[in-house]
């Protein structure tokens, strides 16, 4: 019926198209005969090599599958075999592969000359560091990280404490989870959570104390709210100082003033005792009571009786708690009723809200305390669990003990017996380890930034895998000294190993290009005691090299120069590695570093420390096979078995039969945990007439910590390009501010001009502002307070008084 050939063929094409559309429409409606969306359609059919690795970012410890093609990471997938994430990731995890390929990767060692840098060889860089250490070995400090892999941290730890007899080694984790450590130590006598992520699958109630896991630990948060999607009943409670994405998913939101958590915890304990709903059986069998000893402040405090504990709690009536915390008395009663119900399984989660707190140790012990007092402990779903922010804050910092007072495996330098055990494992001469703790983070940097003539006793700091120029509190005081303090710092020398230029490399005298993540072998330990392993998959760019190699190369340079500390008892090099034939492998030579698996050698030596506090680690090979194992990993009948719940019979192999619960590292040596009383104490700085706003700092979903990696990933940077100040709409109106206006924010320590985002990502209550710290060009830490917790020495980034004023456009 068509009129000429050409239109006819057009008509035919058109008909084909229409037919296809018709069939598609019908197929869609009929359903069930369709195909899955081919999301991997563009993926090359072959040539991609997939291997497991834990994600580079937070402390959750998700496993990813890394797709490598022609020597480059080309794809990332959630690892379905991983118990932590069961195949799910967050937006950072899905894009972690791109963190390796920012255009401005550091690829050459750079030495400062005046205002700029000169490219130097690795030999010159290593010699320069060795010169600094050799000249002043006791004024050298190592500033590390919870992103150090376990072998990296272990090598640095051994180099400093076992080699240089120098305890000035501390990590950025001091800023992150030191209060959690002191909380666990004061309560159980041993660090790290008893529970694990499995509690999230079993709990009926999840209480998040100053925690925003929807953004910071999204995979864990999903694990809970996904249960709700499946029809399970889980009550989520958010106790916080601002509304967040987490709040939106919670049934209850308890908005408190800073330090309100201290009052809330006491209020719950008060009601549990008053109502008689505490677990007398649990308390009588497994707990003692403690209060701070003001005359002699330490983690042991003084033992008190139950009656004394009760009378100390007497003032904390719900109404009094309301006046201290701002949380209505009714909600305190609601919490106490939940804890008073033995049938409910309650899990508490916390992270920076409770740790970055000048009463961080106190609030940590108090949350453990209400779990113990109410008996919500030791069964799946009943656990007080702290989360970490870095992939190996637990594995490296807490377990390897890269803290100024610690030795591997939970030992401390102050204890002569511990020192001897460490010296024996390291085979260094007796007396090598110094018995006095070194400088903790805040003190280390203060000393470094104070002229030598004024008592600044740190001359050189070597920074690895972290960005203190952005993340230390009160940056202005440290790095922008005024007037007289400016002079006298010429002799100081800052060495920074990193992968990208950062706010810290800007201050550096020597910049070393590092390998990152799957450019090297690694092992890390996540928040639930899970030790994870991966292999190198791609080469680092340019001359970038492993941080661990850098440490060993400097040690060897010092060894060559005859420095006594670099030798063990037999006169061998401290990091001597021998292959299967017994021949020494020159691992200090980069060309030969991967001739052997240095990680495995270091880990097998480190593993010997893990028995001391029953944090047993399995042989390296077990971790190669697994998606991480939770310690204690104990061999039974030839099988290496991990431990889900510590201190609980039936789970923990170190709990004696019939004990039910056994706190076998109790600080009172009677298998009991300590329930602490601490009074409510006001924050170190509160708003006043001059500085009427409370500033809280924190993170956002898209960016990880100081953003040096995530801000170089287009997908993440597009989603969250820069920092902002979150403001309540009424506060904004009072100050004549609209979205996008710029404000000058000032504290007693510094100021910042920053755009306003009314209600922003979260919703701060009136009188408070929130600023994320990821943006290296908007350094909110110029304003933050450097007051620290008296026990953990962790600073409080969540409470600083500020004022704001509109900047005319």
């Amino acid at each position: 019926m068509s009129r000429d050939p050409e239109p006819r063929s057009d008509a035919l094409q058109r008909r084909d198209f229409i037919k296809a559309s018709a069939m598609a429409a019908a197929a869609a409606i009929a359903g069930g005969t369709s195909f899955a969306l081919p999301i991997l359609a563009d993926e090359p059919a072959s040539g991609v090599d997939w291997q497991k690795a834990p994600c580079r970012f937070c402390g959750t410890g998700c496993h990813v599958q890394v797709g490598v093609q022609e020597g480059k990471v080309v794809a990332i997938a959630g690892d379905r075999n991983a118990e932590v994430n069961k195949g799910l990731l967050c937006v950072k995890g899905y894009h972690v592969g791109a963190a390796l390929y920012g255009k401005d990767r550091l690829t050459k060692p750079l030495l400062r000359e005046g205002d700029n840098y000169r490219e130097i060889s690795w030999e010159e860089a290593i010699r320069t560091i060795a010169d600094r250490i050799q000249a002043e070995p006791n004024r050298f400090a190592f500033y590390g990280s919870g992103q150090w892999t376990i072998p990296e941290g272990y090598a640095a730890q051994k180099f400093m404490k076992g080699g240089l007899s120098n305890n000035h080694i501390d990590p950025n984790a001091r800023l992150c989870m030191a209060s959690a450590v002191t909380g666990f130590l004061a309560t159980y006598g041993v660090d790290e959570p008893a529970g694990c992520y499995d509690d999230l699958d079993a709990c009926d109630v999840l209480i998040m104390w100053g925690n925003n896991p929807a953004e910071m630990h999204p995979v864990l948060f999903s694990r809970v709210i996904d249960r709700r999607s499946r029809g399970e009943k889980v009550t989520l409670i958010d106790i916080g100082t601002r509304r967040t994405r987490t709040t939106e998913a919670c049934q209850h939101y308890l908005e408190m003033k800073g330090h309100g958590d201290l009052a809330i915890a006491n209020g719950i304990a008060h009601l549990l005792i008053k109502n008689g709903t505490y677990s007398q059986k649990f308390v009588d069998s497994f707990c003692s009571f403690k209060a701070p000893d003001d005359a002699n402040p330490n983690l042991h405090g003084k033992t008190i009786s139950f009656d004394e504990y009760k009378s100390l709690l007497e003032p904390y009536t719900p109404e009094h708690v309301e006046s201290l915390s701002g949380v209505p008395a009714e909600q305190i009663r609601m919490l106490a009723d939940l804890f008073g119900n033995p049938k409910l399984k309650i899990t508490s989660l916390w992270c920076m809200g409770m740790n970055q707190h000048t009463r961080g140790t106190a609030i940590n012990t108090m949350v453990h305390g209400i779990h113990l007092l109410s008996g919500h402990f030791g069964t799946p779903g009943n656990a007080p669990t702290s989360l970490t922010g870095q992939p190996s804050a637990c594995g490296t910092v807490r377990e390897v003990g890269t803290l100024s007072h610690a030795l591997p495996g939970g030992m401390v330098v102050a204890d002569a017996e511990h020192r001897k055990m460490a010296e024996d494992i390291w085979r260094v001469p007796p007396g090598r380890i110094n018995g006095t703790a070194g400088h903790h983070t805040v003190k280390m940097w203060e000393s470094f930034c104070t002229p030598t003539s004024q008592g600044g006793d740190i001359g050189t700091i070597w920074v690895q895998v972290t960005n203190p120029g952005q993340t230390l509190p009160n940056l202005n005081k440290l790095f922008n000294p005024k007037g007289d303090n400016k002079a006298g710092l010429e002799d100081k020398f800052l060495i920074v190993s990193d992968v990208y230029p950062t706010a810290t490399t800007r201050l550096a005298d020597l910049i070393l290009p590092s390998a990152m993540w799957v450019e090297k072998n690694g092992m890390v330990g996540n928040s639930e005691r899970r030790t994870q392993q991966w292999f190198k998959m791609v080469d680092p760019p340019g001359e970038a090299r492993d941080d661990c190699w850098q440490t060993i190369a400097v040690a060897y340079e010092l060894h060559k120069r005859g420095i006594e500390g670099m030798k063990d008892r037999d006169g061998q090099f401290l990091f001597e590695v021998r292959n299967a034939d017994g021949a020494a492998v020159p691992i200090w030579d980069w060309e030969h570093y991967y001739d052997t698996n240095v990680d495995e050698h270091l880990f097998e030596e480190y593993r010997k420390f893990s028995r001391f506090k029953h944090k047993d680690l399995a042989p390296y090979g077990e971790y190669v096979k697994a998606r991480g194992l939770r310690w204690p990993v104990v061999e039974t009948n030839g099988q290496w078995r991990e431990t889900h719940f510590r201190f609980a019979e039936g789970f923990d192999p170190y709990v004696a039969a019939g004990k039910e619960i056994q706190f076998y590292h109790s600080s009172t040596h009677d298998d009991r945990a300590q329930i602490w009383f601490h009074p409510w104490i006001a924050p170190a700085e509160v708003p006043d007439q001059d500085y009427p706003f409370m500033l809280c700092t924190g993170r956002v979903l898209e960016h990880w910590h100081s953003g040096s990696m995530t801000r170089r990933i287009p997908e993440l940077s597009r989603a969250m390009p820069g920092a902002y100040a979150e403001l309540h709409p009424e506060d904004a109106a009072t100050h004549g501010l609209r979205n996008g206006d710029r404000v000058k924010m000032e504290s007693r320590r510094g100021s910042l001009v920053i755009p306003v985002w009314i209600d922003g990502r979260g919703k701060p209550p009136r009188g408070t502002v929130f600023v994320p710290f990821f943006d290296e060009t908007l350094l909110i830490n110029d304003l933050t307070l450097d007051a620290v917790d008296p026990f953990s020495k962790q600073p409080d980034y969540k409470k600083a008084a500020v004022r704001i004023s509109k900047v005319p456009s």
Binding site: D10, A25, S34, V91, A719
Partner: protein, 262 residues
């Protein structure tokens, strides 16, 4: 119905549009402006008369024949939302073909002037009160024969401020003038960093804060999420700052890198 023969491309587009419009007629969602077809009964549809309005609320429930299944046909007589049996199966596997996705987007475009426009209402509405809107759209529901989308934004009290009727029944279609406005089409997919990466959200989230409204159980099949039990959507799917006008700075800023003397 005559097609313009001048441009083949134009013809093709014209046919697609017409086809879609007619498909819409038969799927019961929208009366086209012009119909030259035989009536639906003659085309074989077992059409049931629109069920009696729930007079209390003064609203006629939207009927969506295309989504009826045989087993639930008899349930068509149920007109109270509360008596309808939900067909949501939270753990059912969801598989979507590209064709289904295209169809869903086409169906969706029928009552939107452009991507991001507030949808027009494909059923009669009560012009005096929002109570009836909220009665169904507050929660949304899917039954064998009915799909009521949930509000994609938080409750805003004046529904008809933005949502108007698609085809006021008291006016014949012929009285309307043609309009050549070509609205922005809906994106078919968000960009992915690499195969297997979760797509970025290709639209703004303003007024679309409840992702599950369109991508959840109540959403059209072709654009539904394959993993509806995961409810923290933004955990994996990042929005775009360029599209989200609430974000302040358009570009990330960095410190200058180290200056290297050559």
């Amino acid at each position: 119905m005559t097609a313009d023969r001048k441009s083949n491309a134009a013809i093709l587009i014209a046919f697609v549009v017409m086809s879609v419009a007619v498909a819409g007629y038969f799927t019961g969602l929208q009366a086209p402006m012009k119909v030259t077809a035989a009536d639906s009964n003659s085309a074989g549809v077992k059409q049931q008369t629109d069920s009696s309005p729930t007079t209390a609320e003064g609203v006629i429930l939207a009927t969506h024949y295309s989504e009826m299944t045989a087993t639930q046909r008899t349930d068509r007589s149920q007109t109270q939302l509360s008596t309808l049996k939900s067909t949501i199966q939270p753990l059912a596997e969801i598989r979507i073909s590209p064709e289904e996705k295209l169809v869903a987007l086409q169906q969706r475009a029928r009552n939107r002037a452009f991507n991001g426009a507030p949808p027009t209402v494909p059923h009669s509405i009560d012009h005096q009160s929002d109570t009836a809107c909220v009665a169904c759209h507050q929660t949304g529901v899917v039954t064998a024969s009915l799909r009521i989308p949930r509000m994609s934004h938080t409750f805003l009290a004046n529904c008809t401020q933005c949502h108007v009727e698609s085809h006021p029944r008291h006016l014949p279609p012929e009285v309307f003038r043609e309009n050549l406005f070509a609205g922005l089409p809906a994106p078919t997919a968000g960009p992915r960093a690499f195969p297997g990466a979760p797509p970025q959200i290709p639209h703004t989230t303003w007024m679309r804060s409840d992702c599950m409204s369109c991508h959840g159980y109540e959403g059209r099949h072709g654009i539904r999420t394959t993993h509806p039990w995961r409810s923290n959507c933004l955990q994996c799917h990042a929005p775009s700052a360029a599209m989200e006008q609430t974000l302040m700075s358009a570009e990330p800023t960095f410190l200058p890198g180290p200056e290297i003397r050559k």
